[in-house]
Subunit: 497 residues, 2 copies
């Protein structure tokens, strides 16, 4: 077999795995949107079976032979060539997956499917004790997975690699430590000025009109409905089901349109990234994001950078007011924009303002490290959660539903996921600063409802690149600086001012 034949076979297998992965994605999207409760148990076994098949395909020893054959050739001569990049990423992923036994992969897929349903019920009814045995089982399984992956190293760092390849918890601790002290200063500053109520923005916002508005806004920002859809769920999420099929969901509050609106902008940011990738490379590393943090930077950029800018509202506020004429009759555009930058520590991450948001993430980052490293027992989590919230945010949740049950990530086995939210904020601020530097009329375009220049810029620098660079490399190349918190702090200072 020639190296070129080996590469072609690797490509074929990679695309075949993508077809199975897309089935899993749809099974999972469906579980979160339309699956009747009676179908949950079978869905768990079904997803476990598919995850097992996918794992077997991704760890087939033949891949190792093909990789050896293709890599020892001129296909890797130029490390920036498509072939070299795909081969490098396939190798990384193959070596990594080979370390985890199929039985563990299947057990995790099965347990997480059921645990997510158990969590959702426990959260709704504020019953941490019902979720506890599942969390214990999940932590044990994820520790086992982390140990397999780490090969003597730190299991949490090994899990983190699933979401942010190349990043360690020590690097994150440095970055986040600096951010924490900046945020605490900003919080103290805001505390002195906290006065304006935002009661004017509470009112009656019919869901159907919110959904119609959401679809209009999505279209204007460039989301392609021919290749995607927008639905309603308990927890907003995005799901790249397949090429030409990117789905996002949001949820609406009947008393405050901002909740659904910003959840939508967030998911749109993810959606634009997916829709901007080269379909030619679907099913290969060149058709995928290098990290979740970078993916998250795209949602944060649209949600916070664009969506909270005065220019954005110059264009959109008249339309929003027309959609809710009664509720917003007495609210000026300036009042709305001010409300979007209001700082008010609370117990809920999803509803948090921009300044306190990352403090919520830091708490989770610390707690999940302690869980995985065995320094914190799941039974002790509610207390630890309350303590950490008191210290970081000065607030204490009244119950577990408002506390450690508020997020579903751990029930889905996602340990190492939370830090990517804050990384996303850091990357997003760096990217938007760079874009504004290169395109001085960016905000003038927003004010006219023109988001094309920004999308074009992102298309060139981010969307089209797949895994050509790591997230850190991309940030450095595009912004001229390694990941650092100054641009985020500057953005928060400006908007707080």
């Amino acid at each position: 077999m020639t190296p070129r034949d080996a590469y072609a076979e690797l490509l074929r297998r990679s695309r075949e795995r993508a077809m199975l992965a897309s089935c899993l994605e749809l099974l999972s999207w469906d579980e979160l949107t339309f699956l009747p409760p009676g179908g949950v148990a079978f869905r768990g076994r079904q997803m476990a079976h598919l995850a097992g098949m996918l794992h077997a395909a991704a760890t087939d020893p033949v891949l190792g032979e093909l990789l050896d054959c293709a890599s020892r050739s001129d296909l890797t001569a130029d490390p920036h060539s498509a072939t070299a990049i795909n081969l490098r990423q396939w190798r990384w992923s193959y070596d990594r997956r080979r370390r985890v036994p199929r039985s563990l992969v299947e057990e995790l897929a099965d347990v997480t499917t059921i645990a997510q349903q158990v969590w959702a019920e426990a959260w709704q009814r504020d019953r941490y004790e019902e979720f506890l045995p599942w969390l214990e089982r999940l932590v044990a399984l994820k520790r086992a997975e982390g140990s397999c992956l780490a090969q003597g190293g730190d299991p949490y760092d090994a899990l983190l690699e699933d979401y942010e390849p190349g990043m360690t918890s020590a690097q994150l601790a440095d970055l986040f430590g600096e951010l924490q002290s900046e945020l605490k200063s900003l919080l103290a500053l805001a505390g002195d000025r906290r006065r304006k109520s935002d009661g004017g923005l509470q009112g009656s916002f019919p869901i159907d009109r919110q959904h119609a508005l959401a679809c209009r806004v999505a279209e204007q920002l460039g989301f392609d409905f021919h290749r995607g859809r927008v639905d309603t769920t308990t927890h907003p999420f995005f799901s790249p089901v397949g090429p030409g099929d990117c789905r996002i969901t949001t949820r609406y509050s009947e008393t405050d349109f901002r909740e659904g609106f910003f959840a939508l902008l967030h998911e749109i940011g993810h959606g634009l990234y997916e829709q901007g990738m080269d379909p030619e490379w679907y099913g290969t590393p060149l058709g995928e994001a290098p990290s979740l943090g970078l993916h998250e930077s795209q949602s944060r950029l649209w949600e916070n950078g664009v969506g909270r800018s005065p220019a954005f509202w110059q264009y959109f506020y008249p339309e929003v007011q027309r959609a809710f004429p009664e509720a917003l009759r007495n609210v000026s555009r300036e009042e709305l924009v001010v409300s979007l930058h209001r700082v008010q520590p609370g117990v809920n991450r999803v509803r948090a303002d921009r300044v306190t948001y990352d403090l919520h993430v830091l708490a989770r980052f610390e707690l999940e490290q302690a869980l995985i490293r065995g320094e914190l027992a799941p039974a002790e989590l509610p207390d630890a959660w309350r303590n950490r919230y008191r210290e970081l945010l000065g607030v204490v949740p009244r119950n577990d539903a408002e506390g450690c049950l508020q997020d579903g990530h751990w029930s889905a086995g996602q340990f190492g996921y939370f830090p990517t939210y804050t990384l996303g904020n850091i990357y997003a601020a760096q990217l938007l600063e760079a874009a504004r530097r290169e395109l001085p009329s960016l905000d003038a375009a927003f004010a006219c409802g023109d988001f094309h220049p920004l999308r074009e810029w992102l298309q060139r620098h981010v969307y089209s690149r797949g895994q050509k660079d790591t997230a850190v490399e991309l940030i450095e190349r595009v912004t001229g600086q390694p990941p650092h918190v100054a641009p985020l702090v500057r953005a928060l200072q400006t908007s707080a001012g």
Copy 2:
């Protein structure tokens, strides 16, 4: 390996295939409900890949060896035992599938996925010429499949076996020939009496209220929403996604509630059958219907036998009137029931009355035989369609959208499917006559909204039996007679009187 080990392995593999089949079912349900247009091409390839995997699993020569080993043992001593039945049906299916090459299976899955979308567009825009090349390709592929299966026999009969195992086109022609002359007499009779307009039932029926009513009715009839859901689509269908997950869809007309209501009753009938099967046997022949005709008998029984009975409306009409007080203010229950038995030949199968309905099916049965046997070229279909409608029903569609494009079955590769509609009507009438004979107070129960006695009876005689008998055996055992048209003709005579 002992015969018992072989059986256990066959069982495990059967259930594993069911997991993949359930993925395919969901991919297909999603295609018909939520898939964005840009995702269609990939979905086609994806379903082709899965269908290919499923075919490979179902034709693995190891199955042949396992079947040989398990069958030559006391596991088949009692032909009515669960083991013997499963082994018999597995063997039948294995031998059958082995005759079709995987490449043909994959090509069919791919082509039908795209052809269904092409058909939907061609139908909406009345462009037969756009669908024609796809129909040509489909007919060629299905002829090829039929030839592989028939091994020298008739390719149409071989395809028919997919839907109605054990039935031949000659047997159907006998049964349908008798029915055709009876229907023509009934039609002539009705023609003399056709007077009453049904204008009173046209009005304004808000979709959301229709959907709320549909869900209420579904629940009352016994459809379990914990293990199923009801959605809206262009074409009503049911989809047994998995155990505990049976989905049905309907469509509503804003000017006539009966359309969505009866489409719902029809799909509910399918749904109750699926929900009534023993979940223990899911993924094995004992957890599946013996034929599509028998499955269809369940939808027809609820749609026509129950749903058009005066007793049914004695209970439901007040509720329907409350849901649409303006539109139905001046319509009495008697007028409604009379309207449900009105005979009026038309060009549309789905909207046809009970007397002419089977004439629509007979036309399709004849035409699809001619297509598969090469006696009719797809290019000649529109003319042949018009001619046959003129002869059978005395009406001619104004265009192809109203004519040969009205159904999507052929675009999905379903040749041999249509006759099961009429078989379903025949079986349903026989079953309901038998149930009324055994349970004289059945209609009195309907009038009180109690559908439990009928469901119990069906549970015992039909739902719980899986493939213990063939459809014909089941009909004979339960009704005491082989399939015959007299009960259907009697039912039509009574309601026409």
